[in-house]
Amino acid sequence: MSEPAGVDAALGFMRRLREGLDAGLEFPDAVARGAAALPRDARQTVQRAVRRLEGDYAEDEWGFDEGFAELVEPFFGFLYDRWWRVKVTGARRVPAHGGAMLAANHAGILPWDATMISVALLREHPLPRHPRFMVLNWAFDLPWVSVFMRKVGGVVASPYNALRLLEQEQLVAVFPEGVRGIGKPYTERYRLQRFGRGGFVEIALRAGAPIVPVAVVGSEEIYPKLADVPSLARLIGAPFFPVTPTFPWLGPLGAIPLPSRWRIEFCEPIETAHMGPEAASDRAAVLELTERVRDVVQQALYANLVRRGPAFI
C-alpha cells in the first residue's frame, strides 16, 4: 500500500531542505531548492512565501499589500460562501472607474462588514477593484490588528485620508454611524444611528465623487450585544466593552461571529459633481444630502430584512 501523494511530497520536501542546509545553503535558498520537486501549486506557494521573506512584495503608499490580500482571500471567501451565505444585489451600480464613496451601516467591533463588501465587489463586479475602508481609530493601537487592517486596505478614519483617496480615484467605504453604530444593543439592530455631522458628504462634495449607499443585512446579528461594561472598556482603552452570549464567557472564542445570513445591496449612486466643491461649505445642503443617504440606506435595510427572512437558518 503506497502513502498518499501529499505526505510523500512533504517528506521529499523536508529531505531536500535538510540536504540543502547540510550543504551550507542559506535558509531561503534551501527552501527554494527543497520546493523544486513539489507539485506546482505547492511550489508556487512556497516560492511566494520565500520571496515575501526577502522583502520582495509591493505595498502602496497606504500600506495596502495586494499579495497579502490575495493570500487571505480563501479565508474571507469561506466566510462569504459558507458562514454567512452572502447574497448581493446591485454590485453593477458601483462605478467602475474614478473616485466613489460607499456609505454603509456599521456593526460589530471588528470590521467584518467592510471585508464582506470587499469580497462582494471582487466577486460580483464586472471590473473588480479593492475598496479602501475607514477603520475605527482604536484598531490602529492594537498589535497585529493594525498591520492586518492596513494590509487589506483599511485606513485611519480621517477626512484627510478619505479626500486623498478620492483624489487618487479610489473606491472608499465609509461607515457614517461610526462608533455609535458598532456599540448598538441587539434590540436596536438595523435602526440607523445619526450619520455624524455629515463629514463624509462634505468630503464627497469636495472631491466631486458619487456616493453609493450600501445596506448590509446580517452584520448586526453576528455579535448580539446584550450589555456594556464601561469600566472594563476604560481599562483597555476601548470605546465599549460588549457582553454577548459568547463573549467574554468563552474567551477568545467569543470573537467568533455568529453565522447569520447576509444580504448586501448597493443602491443607486447619488451624484455630487454637479453641485460643485463650494457646496461642501453649505451646511444646509450637506445636512440634507446626509439625511437623503441615511434614508436610502434605512429603506434598503428594511426591504432586505424582509427578503432575507429568518436570521440564522
Binding site: L53, E54, G55, Y57, E59, D60, E61, W62, G63, D65, N137, F140, D141, L142, P143, W144, S146, V147, R150, V155, V156, S158, Y160, N161, R164
Partner: protein
C-alpha cells in the same frame, strides 16, 4: 540674483560640507560663509570658515560683518552623537537657534532663512492621518523632548518672520534621511545584526535620500517660500519589508520590554534609540509633499523604496570592493 552671499551653520556636518561645495560652484554665489565648531568633512575651496559655536553670543558680530542675504540653519541635532548629552543637544537646538535669530535681527541685507528642521514635530501617532500636511502640527500633544524642542524652534522662526516680513523663513521639515554617506539613525538601525521591532506592529515609514536632502536645501535657497514645507521621498515602506530588503532578521520585542531590551543592547555596543525613534518604529509617520513639489518646485529623485534600495546596493558595492 547675482552676487549672493550665503551663510551656513553646521558646515562641519556631511550635508553642510556638501552644500558649501555645491554653492561654491554656483556662479551667482559671490561668497559662502561657514560656521561650525567642527572642521568640514572635505576640502572646501572658497568658503570662509569660522570656528564658532552658535550658542555663543559672539556670533552676532560675526554674522553682521559677513552681511549674508541668505542664512541656512543646518545645526539642528536630531540624535545625540557619542559623548553628547541630551542637555547639550537641547542647548544647541533651542539656544543656538535663538542666538542665530538674534544675530539675524541686525543684518539689513538678509532676504531669506532656510532651516533644516524636522518632521519629528508631528510625532508618530497611531490615529494620525496617513499623510500629514504642513497645517497638522497641533492635532496631537507634543510627547517627547525633541518634539517640544522642534516646536519651540519653529515658534521662534514664526515670530521672527512676523516681525520681519521682508525676510522669508522657510522651515523644511525633514523626514529621517538615509544614504550611503550619511551616519543616520536609520542607517545604523539597518546595519545591526538584527533589527528590533515592536511585536505585532509593522508601521509605514517614510525616508528621504541624502541626494534629495541636499537638493531640497538648494531648491529652497533658490526659491524661498514662506512657512513650513515637508521634505521626504514619495510613498512609504513597511518597516518589516525594509528590514527584509536589507537582508536583516527582524527581532520582534513585546511593547513594554522594548525600551529595557534596547537599553541593554546598547551596552553591548548596539545603537541607541531615542524616544522619538522608538515611537517611529511603533507607529510610523508619513507626510504630504505636495508643497515641496508644487511651491518649491522640487521633485525628489528617490521614492522611499528607491532610497532604501539604493542604500542597500551601495552597501553591497562597498563590501565587494
Amino acid at each position: 540674483m547675482p552676487g549672493r552671499r550665503v551663510l551656513i551653520t553646521g558646515v562641519g556636518s556631511y550635508l553642510g560640507t556638501l552644500l558649501a561645495a555645491r554653492l561654491e560652484r554656483e556662479p551667482e554665489v559671490e561668497a559662502v560663509i561657514g560656521i561650525d565648531t567642527r572642521p568640514p568633512r572635505a576640502e572646501l575651496e572658497r568658503t570662509e570658515l569660522h570656528d564658532a559655536d552658535i550658542r555663543d553670543p559672539g556670533i552676532a558680530r560675526l554674522i553682521q560683518t559677513a552681511e549674508p542675504d541668505a542664512v541656512v540653519h543646518n545645526k539642528i541635532v536630531r540624535q545625540p552623537g557619542p559623548g553628547m548629552s541630551s542637555r547639550a543637544m537641547h542647548d544647541i537646538n533651542v539656544i543656538g537657534s535663538l542666538q542665530l535669530l538674534g544675530a539675524c535681527e541686525r543684518v539689513p541685507s538678509l532676504r531669506s532663512i532656510v532651516i533644516r528642521g524636522s518632521a519629528g514635530i508631528y510625532g508618530a501617532e497611531p490615529h494620525a492621518p496617513q499623510f500629514l500636511d504642513e497645517e497638522m502640527t497641533r492635532l496631537f500633544p507634543l510627547r517627547t523632548r525633541f518634539q517640544r524642542d522642534v516646536a519651540e524652534i519653529e515658534n521662534y522662526f514664526e515670530t521672527f518672520s512676523r516681525r520681519r516680513p521682508r525676510v522669508t523663513c522657510t522651515m523644511l521639515r525633514y523626514q529621517p534621511a538615509i544614504g550611503p554617506s550619511l551616519d543616520t539613525q536609520i542607517n545604523r538601525y539597518l546595519s545591526q545584526p538584527a533589527c528590533p521591532t515592536y511585536l505585532g506592529f509593522d508601521p509605514r515609514v517614510q525616508l528621504v535620500h541624502e541626494h534629495d536632502a541636499l537638493e531640497a536645501l538648494l531648491a529652497a535657497i533658490r526659491n524661498p517660500v514662506r512657512g513650513a514645507v515637508n521634505v521626504a521621498g514619495r510613498g512609504t515602506i513597511g518597516l518589516t519589508r525594509m528590514i527584509r530588503l536589507a537582508g536583516r532578521p527582524p527581532l520582534p520585542v513585546a511593547g513594554p520590554l522594548f525600551a529595557p531590551v534596547t537599553r541593554a543592547a546598547r551596552r553591548l555596543g548596539m545603537s541607541a534609540y531615542s524616544e522619538d525613534f522608538r515611537r517611529l518604529l511603533r507607529y510610523g509617520r508619513a507626510v504630504d509633499i505636495r508643497r515641496l513639489e508644487e511651491e518649491v518646485s522640487y521633485q525628489p529623485r528617490y521614492s522611499t523604496v528607491a532610497a532604501v534600495q539604493d542604500w542597500i546596493a551601495r552597501r553591497h558595492e562597498a563590501r565587494a570592493a
